[in-house]
Symmetry: D3
Subunit: 248 residues, 6 copies
């Protein structure tokens, strides 16, 4: 059940059965020569919808632009400042809490978002304490990165045999190819697998990784892989969601 | 051309031909008994994509949650505080300006966003002046509400003969039925046309308009209307976009 | 009754009879060769006082500097960032609400303020909901632009026959000449009527309108016109104020 | 020369002769049984204008609402939060600095503003350093409280012989009676001189000083005193202003 | 009793006996050729601990970096923007108020902090009123500058005979030599006593006072003086603290 | 070399040899029955000083209060809101960058700080890009949690054999006992090892872990362990620091 495709009356009915909601959060940033700028937003959204279907959970609106300061030397990348992203999450959660939602399950598509999301949860908790004191509702926010579960790890190893890398990975590119087959890009990449490593700021990122990939071989991606990664992620995360809302 | 479905290399190439970008902005709020909570976000996004196809413009990511404080007594409605929405728009425009975009054409789906969007444009201009002084790039932001053009007005009169109303209108419901035929809701409404008028805060809104509609008869909506409204809006707004980017 | 010229004991007595207050808001910005930098602040204040006298309403302090980023290429222009102006209005309304005021009637002198004012109203509503929840007082804020009523439109056409323009207009200059006859400026202007049109940022404004006027012939202004415009505006707006505070 | 009564062309000419500007800042808060809510705003504005006339300095717009949280238990009192007041002063100074003003001489009417004003000066300096680095213009902001000079001290002792007090003082009430003879209030006060002392928060203020005065006997005020206080303050402060703008 | 060296159970017990807490606040900034960058933080902390021991008061954590924009041309100086410092103090006080602390006694080591601290107190009061209304706890914040009491003045005159100055003073250097004998610096200074005066921004400060001292002769400092200054300050301020918490 | 115990002239000299600085950051929060409220601040500071001695690095001032919203049901715990902590770190780094520091090595004592610290690094990077564009200095910030290295892990297993837990751990308590032997607390704890697990908000934390410990047996702590943990942490982190500043 997607919030955007529901009426308020349906939401009212839903709230009588559950106080949980799934919240996708992505990013809009370069993903190498054949990865889409919207990769992280698409992955988060598509998996969130899958989890919604698998569990009956309501799925809220996406946060399509995240924290991607370090990608800003590549055209098309966008970023919220961390302080802005915190304010957005605070307002999203705060709005839904007014209606009685209490369990916020964020499915994240971008590693760079993690600190701001976690900081935002505590900004929410602090604000609720300040506003309502000890009578504040018992809000619980949690964060799941779609790629961090054993099933995805296993498939990645099976498909890419150590060429997953850490940015513009074949897994995420596969997922977007599955979700948007009309937007599959055929691009030659040299070398097949990009160099791995860390980076400092945006200029340093571009100096070290001139085509945007880190340690990955996204030329190995395929929509068939994407389908299997999607199924595995949805299944694993649906289980996590069920546990989260069932928790005392 | 959608930013989310493009690679950074495609964006880099695009920037050699144009400095313009189309930015959809919607809202997530109740739209009466048969209108979707995502109505305004869907309308903005679908028309923005249409304009992108008609003009070759790049279409940026949506802002799916807008300023909807006055809808907050209806479950599922979400809102950013105006100050948060201003920060989001500032960061969106600021990010894209780093890459050389200079003409920002916002297609808006929600009347309640208008003040915050317009305020945000001046927040951007003020910040650019402060940061870069008289050497700041010549950024231009404009706002188009998809329903504010003669073609849409004419169709609305033809289809609904005075029962358009001002919230949860048959036009916007038709558009979402065209965009999402899988989510058409069949709901009886009493009276057919809701009472019209103004309102004050969120509680006052709900008191006056208990099912969420204002002055409208969204039971008249149909996906066929939606198709024609879509075609008309895209055609009218594509012309506006071309003029905007061609302006000296 | 002006707040600034009242004692707190008089305000306490007033609050037993009315919860309404008139709030002038202006701007400090260039108004062409013979218009005062304080034009918008003066117009808002003088009309607010007139409305206060006509209706017995309390008149609050002015906001003399508004949102005028687009005038900043002309010496003497001042601006608050939109986010600052929103904070100021939030604090003004919030302060007065602590004493029991509930109806805030802003009389505005400057078109550029409108988005920030309207955004501020919702910032106030959002904050009150957050702070007090459903027990928040029923605050109502409204905005009236002094020049937007049929009486003023009629006089402008009678006096200036299409040479009103949209910035540094003969109407507003007349009003300030009526209010401050000691500050009437005699300046030759070439051409009599400035070119009309739009503009983008502050530099673009100055490029297009080198003496600061847009579409107007403020050389036609006179204090006699000012008197008649004042009377008409006060009469029209006093009626609006009475309706606003009488509303259920 | 008042900014509000000048044209931008006059300001441009002024800037060729001086980079200094006088900025009044007041407050809107209870001033006891016969003191006006606008006392501090009126005093600052009237003296600033006097100093402008005496020195030829340009006088900027007032900040009529200051930091008066501690007066908020008395109807009609208004306050900006300190953080808002800092933002306002930052925007005022920042705006004027864009035109080339470099010496900002604030004439203050309210003790409670002092910390926020001084903090704001450093917010301005910090921001200018951040924005412009070592090439930032050499902005100088200073603060003068109109009552803090030997001449005013001497007159107060002559007129009130130890009954000046620290809030709602006969000096400031006299000044407003001189400036606004039409708003002189005749109110009996018991005792003639209010108790003196400190206070904590707003509730504590009202508990200790139920009619709003601290240590003062404002029944002794007269417009004649006001005239002499005005002359003395203008003369003393004009000298300070001349020294400020002449400083290397 | 230091908060940092206590357990929460000890704090819980303390709160049954007192609602007062001592809060040191310093600065990290140049203090001339032989003064430590941490001078103000060290002075505040060491005296706060002394007062804690003398009175049994709980001593909270230091704020080691204050508002020192004007020192920023000297390497090692650090500053919070005034708005940041206000937020920090608001959070410190707000946190402790959640546990029932009501009397906040700040011992300050740096003149430049005073406006921001005082502004912060009112930011706290305003926020508490907004959050809790008239049921807010009766929080009281006060500020004591360690050097502002007759005992310290007397010792300074005895030790330095007019060579105290106003920055990088022998008194504060002595105090740090007493607190940190391992960090006594032997540096020749020319002239023995620095020139006195005011300053504008950071660049102006460095131009006028090239070695960082203002009006002082810190070569006269000694750890023995430091001991006596410490004893005097602790004794004087302990008395002030006792009065503060005993106040009705 | 500690910044607080250095003169500005020594800092100036240091900057000719290194652009690196060590920054301790802690927290002020309950640490169970025998752990100090200042545990995390003390651990960060003491190790930072050790690393400074081992490497010759300059050590900046502590941030003694971090993000500890989840501990706020225990008396004495303090917290900055995440947004405040981000502002503090931004100002710390920004101040030091003005002097030419470029490598910021944060040694962290508290897991709850991690998201806000990481978010702050990107707030800094974003702000530097905005202010200076592609000419911004190449700032690099990194974060090291003192307990996250193999040496500490090994010692913990040797000393506590699975009773380390995740909050109020015997390792951190040992470290503070080593640093502050005068503040060792003898408290019986039941059970010896607290239950392990997660938690949601502050109230949930206290419900699940009524004495404040999570999974730990801090009764096993000793100052001798503290000494060995200190030596191991300093040695491991000094190596990391050297690599960080040597990096191209
Ligand atoms: Ni990705
Ligand atoms: Ni709509
Ligand atoms: Ni105007
Ligand atoms: Ni006063
Ligand atoms: Ni000092
Ligand atoms: Ni800890």
């Amino acid at each position: 059940m997607q919030l955007h495709l529901s009426t308020w009356i349906e939401v009212e009915a839903y709230l009588k059965t559950s106080k949980g909601i799934v919240m996708p959060i992505g990013s809009t940033e370069q993903h190498g020569p054949n990865g889409l700028v919207g990769t992280d937003a698409i992955c988060a959204e598509v998996i969130a919808r899958g989890v919604g279907e698998a569990t009956g959970a309501l799925v809220g609106p996406n946060i399509p632009v995240g924290m991607a300061v370090h990608h800003m030397e590549f055209p098309g990348s966008m970023t919220l400042k961390p302080s802005t992203l915190i304010a957005v999450i605070r307002d999203y959660v705060g709005s839904l809490a007014e209606h009685g939602f209490e369990r916020f399950f964020f499915i994240n598509g971008h590693g760079g978002n993690i600190p701001s999301i976690r900081a935002a949860f505590y900004e929410v908790y602090a604000e609720q304490r300040a506003l309502r004191g000890r009578d504040a509702p018992d809000l619980r926010c949690t964060l799941v990165n779609w790629w961090e579960n054993p099933e995805i790890g296993r498939l990645s190893r099976e498909f890419y045999q150590g060429k997953e890398g850490s940015h513009a990975t074949p897994s995420e590119v596969s997922l977007t190819q599955f979700a948007h087959p009309e937007a599959i890009k055929r691009v030659a990449m040299e070398p097949e697998q990009a160099p791995a490593g860390g980076f400092h700021d945006a200029r340093d990122f571009r100096r070290r990784y001139p085509d945007g990939r880190i340690g990955s071989a996204p030329g190995l991606a395929s929509p068939e892989h994407g389908q299997r990664l999607f199924d595995a992620a949805v299944s694993a995360i649906a289980t996590q969601y069920r546990a989260f809302v069932a928790e005392a």
